[in-house]
C-alpha cells in the first residue's frame, strides 16, 4: 500500500520534471540555436587553421589566438606584439566610452524634459525620439557625413559667414566616429532613462528643495541615485553596440580609423584569416562581459540596489 503510494509520488514527480522541460523547450531551443550555438561555432573556428582562400582547415591550431596578440614578420619570422590590434581595441574602448558619456550628457536632459511634460504630450515626444529607428542606420550615417564633410553643411555655412577660410577636417576623424555613434545610439540611452525618470516621484524633489538642497544637490543626491537603474541600462545599451560598431566607423572613419568591428570584418574578408577574426570576436565578447560585470557590480555597491 505504502509502496505503491511512494511509486505514485515518484512517478508524479518524474512527470512534473518532464513537463517542466517540455514547457521550457521552445525557449531553450531558441537560446541554443540563436545564441549559444553560434557563439560556440565562433569559439571553435578560433582554434582552427586558416584556409588559403578564406574558410578554415579542420585542424587544431592556436595560431588565430597567437595572432590576436602577436605578429610574425613575413620575411624573417621574428615575433613582435601586435601593436595595431592593441591600438584598435584601445581606440574602440575609448570611443565607445566617450559615446556613452555623450549619450548620457545629451540623453539625460532629453529624458528629463519628456518625463516632465504633461502625460498626454509624452507619447508624442517619445514618438519623435524613436523616428530615427525607422531609418536604416547606413542612411543615417550618410546623413551625418553630409553635415560634416568638407563641402558639407557646417563647413559651407561657416565659410559663408566668414568665421573660417578653409574647411575644417571633420570627416575621417575619431570625432566623426563619436559624433555618428552618439547620434545613432542616443535613443537607446533616452528610452531607459525616460522609463526611470517617469517613475520618479517629483514630490521627492520638492522635499529636497525644502530641506535646503541646491539645484545641484537635488540632482546629485536625489534624482541621479533614484534613476540609477535607468542610467546603468542606458549605458550598457549604448556601450555594447558602440564597442562593436561597424557601419559608423566604416563610413565616417574612412579606412584609417578602424574599430574592432572593422578589424574583424577585415579578417573574414580581405584578410582571409577566419580563425583570427573568430579569436578577435571572442576577445571582444570577453571585454564586453568584463565591462558589464564591472559596471553592474559597481552600481549595486554604491546603493542603487535599494531602489527599483
Amino acid at each position: 500500500m505504502t509502496l505503491s503510494a511512494q511509486d505514485a509520488t515518484e512517478q508524479r514527480q518524474k512527470k512534473h520534471v518532464r513537463d517542466r522541460w517540455l514547457l521550457s523547450a521552445p525557449a531553450l531551443i531558441l537560446i541554443i540555436a540563436a545564441s549559444v550555438g553560434p557563439l560556440l561555432i565562433v569559439v571553435l573556428y578560433s582554434f582552427l587553421a586558416p584556409g588559403s582562400y578564406g574558410d578554415v582547415k579542420w585542424e587544431f591550431s592556436t595560431e588565430g589566438w597567437f595572432n590576436v596578440l602577436f605578429t610574425r614578420d613575413i620575411f624573417d619570422d621574428t615575433v613582435s606584439l601586435a601593436d595595431a590590434h592593441f591600438s584598435i581595441f584601445w581606440r574602440s574602448i575609448k570611443l565607445a566610452f566617450a559615446t556613452t558619456v555623450f549619450c548620457l550628457i545629451f540623453g539625460f536632459p532629453t529624458a528629463y524634459f519628456i518625463a516632465t511634460r504633461a502625460p498626454h504630450n509624452r507619447s508624442l515626444w517619445l514618438f519623435l525620439i524613436t523616428i530615427p529607428f525607422w531609418t536604416n542606420m547606413l542612411i543615417r550615417t550618410f546623413a551625418i557625413q553630409e553635415v560634416i564633410r568638407s563641402e558639407g553643411i557646417i563647413n559651407t555655412l561657416l565659410m559663408k559667414i566668414g568665421i573660417i577660410s578653409a574647411p575644417i577636417q571633420m570627416m575621417f576623424t575619431d570625432f566623426a566616429i563619436m559624433l555618428g555613434m552618439t547620434y545613432v545610439f542616443l535613443p537607446l540611452m533616452v528610452l531607459p532613462l525616460y522609463a526611470s525618470l517617469e517613475k520618479l516621484d517629483f514630490r521627492l524633489i520638492e522635499a529636497g528643495y525644502d530641506l535646503y538642497a541646491s539645484r545641484f544637490g537635488v540632482l546629485w543626491r536625489i534624482i541621479i541615485p533614484l534613476v540609477k537603474p535607468g542610467i546603468i541600462a542606458g549605458s550598457i545599451l549604448v556601450f555594447v553596440p558602440a564597442l562593436s560598431s561597424y557601419v559608423v566607423p566604416r563610413v565616417l572613419g574612412g579606412g584609417k580609423n578602424l574599430m574592432v568591428g572593422n578589424l574583424i570584418e577585415l579578417q573574414f574578408g580581405q584578410g582571409r584569416n577566419w580563425p583570427l577574426g573568430a579569436a578577435l570576436s571572442v576577445t571582444l565578447v570577453i571585454i564586453v562581459l568584463f565591462a558589464m560585470l564591472y559596471y553592474v557590480r559597481n552600481a549595486s555597491k554604491s546603493g542603487g540596489s535599494a531602489h527599483g
Binding site: 522635499a207 530641506l211 536625489i222
Partner: protein, 350 residues
C-alpha cells in the same frame, strides 16, 4: 501673511488672505478640499509664489525666496521620504545640505530618533518601515534643521483611525517640546479641534473665521463655519433687543431666548441663529421653547440623536448622552418640547 492672492490661470485659488500666525503656536488651516489651504501652505514653503501679496516671517518678506532659502520645513502628505537613503540619512539630509559638520548631524539625528521613538532604527532603509513609522521619520526629518515654522500638509490622512488618534497626541507633544510654530493643514474638523491653538476655517480661497477651537465650534460667525464643523441646527429668529454682547431673539414659536453675536455685527430684524444639538434638551410638551413631533431616534452608543419635526417647519436635532443604561424614555411620533440651554445660541453674520 498679508493680502495673499494666488491665481492659477483664470482660477483664483487664494483670494486676499491675511493671516497672522503667532510664534510657538499650533495653527490649523481647516477647510474642504479645494478651498486653497494647501496652496496657502505651499506659498509659505515656497513651492508656489503668490500672485499678489507678501509672506512675512518675523517681519521680513520671504515671499520671493526659494524653498531652500526659507527656514521653513514641510511634512508632506505622503511623507516623500527618500527611498534610497536610510532612516538616519533621511533625517540628517537637511543638516547635511546646510553644510553642518558630521558630528553635529549625528548627534541631532540621534536626538530626533529618540524624540520620535525610533531609537535603533537609524540604519534601516525607510522602505521597510510601516506607515506610522514613516510618518515619524518624515516629522523628524522636517524638525531636524530646527525650522522657524513647520508645515504639515494633511500628514495623518494616510493613517488608520487608531494610529491617527495617537499621532494627534504625538504631534501636539512634539510641538510643545520643540516650541516650533506648527502650521497644520487638514480637512478633518476633529483633528483641528483636538490639536490646534487657533484655527482658520477656509472656503473657496478665503478665510472665513480665525479663532480658538472653542470660538470656531461654539461661536461660529457664519453659516459655512457652523455647518462645516460638527452638526448644527439653524433657526430663523427676530431680534427683539440688544444689550451688551447679548441679544434677545424671538423664535418662530414665539418664545424668546438670549443669543451671542459675532464682532462687528449689529443684530437687527430677521437673523439666523445656530444651536448645537448637545446644547438642547428634550422634555414633555410645554416645557421648552420649541414644540414638535419626535420623528426619529438614532442610537449611537454614547448618545442618542433625536430628530424633531418642529411645528411651523424644519427639523431640529437634539443630542443627549446616554448617561444611564436603559431606554431613553421617549418614543417616535411622540409630541415633545425642546429646551435650549442659556448662552449657547449664536447669531450668524447674515
Amino acid at each position: 501673511m498679508h493680502g495673499i492672492k494666488k491665481w492659477f490661470g483664470t482660477f483664483q485659488a487664494v483670494d486676499d488672505v491675511t493671516l497672522e500666525i503667532r510664534s510657538n503656536e499650533f495653527f490649523t488651516l481647516l477647510g474642504p478640499s479645494g478651498c486653497g489651504k494647501t496652496t496657502l501652505l505651499r506659498m509659505i514653503a515656497g513651492f508656489e509664489l503668490p500672485t499678489e501679496g507678501q509672506v512675512l516671517l518675523d517681519g521680513t518678506d520671504i515671499s520671493r525666496l526659494l524653498p531652500n532659502q526659507r527656514p521653513v520645513n514641510t511634512v508632506f502628505q505622503n511623507y516623500a521620504l527618500f527611498p534610497h537613503l536610510t532612516v538616519a540619512e533621511n533625517i540628517g539630509f537637511g543638516l547635511k545640505m546646510l553644510g553642518k559638520p558630521k558630528s553635529e548631524i549625528d548627534s541631532v539625528v540621534k536626538d530626533m530618533l529618540k524624540l520620535v521613538h525610533l531609537e535603533g532604527r537609524g540604519n534601516n532603509p525607510v522602505t521597510q518601515l510601516s506607515g506610522g513609522q514613516q510618518q515619524r521619520v518624515a516629522l523628524a526629518r522636517a524638525l531636524a534643521p530646527r525650522p522657524k515654522v513647520l508645515l504639515l500638509d494633511e500628514p495623518l490622512s494616510a493613517l488608520d483611525l487608531k494610529l491617527r488618534k495617537s499621532m494627534q497626541m504625538e504631534l501636539k507633544r512634539l510641538q510643545l517640546e520643540t516650541g516650533i510654530t506648527f502650521v497644520f493643514v487638514t480637512h478633518d474638523q476633529e483633528e483641528a479641534l483636538t490639536m490646534s491653538d487657533r484655527i482658520a476655517v477656509m472656503s473657496t480661497g478665503t478665510v472665513r473665521q480665525v479663532g480658538s477651537p472653542w470660538d470656531i465650534y461654539d461661536r461660529p460667525a457664519e453659516r459655512f463655519v457652523a455647518d462645516f464643523i460638527g452638526e448644527t441646527n439653524f433657526l430663523e429668529a427676530d431680534v427683539v433687543s440688544v444689550s451688551g454682547d447679548r441679544a434677545r431673539v424671538r423664535l418662530s414659536s414665539g418664545a424668546e431666548i438670549s443669543a451671542t453675536y459675532p464682532d462687528g455685527v449689529t443684530p437687527k430684524g430677521k437673523v439666523t441663529i445656530v444651536v448645537r444639538p448637545e446644547h438642547a434638551r428634550l422634555g414633555p410638551p410645554g416645557s421648552g421653547v420649541l414644540e414638535g413631533v419626535l420623528d426619529d431616534i438614532v442610537y449611537l452608543g454614547t448618545d442618542n440623536h433625536f430628530h424633531v419635526k418642529v411645528d411651523g417647519g424644519g427639523t431640529f436635532i437634539v443630542r443627549q448622552q446616554n448617561a444611564k443604561s436603559g431606554p431613553c424614555g421617549f418614543s417616535e411620533q411622540e409630541r415633545v418640547s425642546i429646551a435650549i440651554n442659556d448662552d449657547v445660541a449664536q447669531i450668524l453674520r447674515d
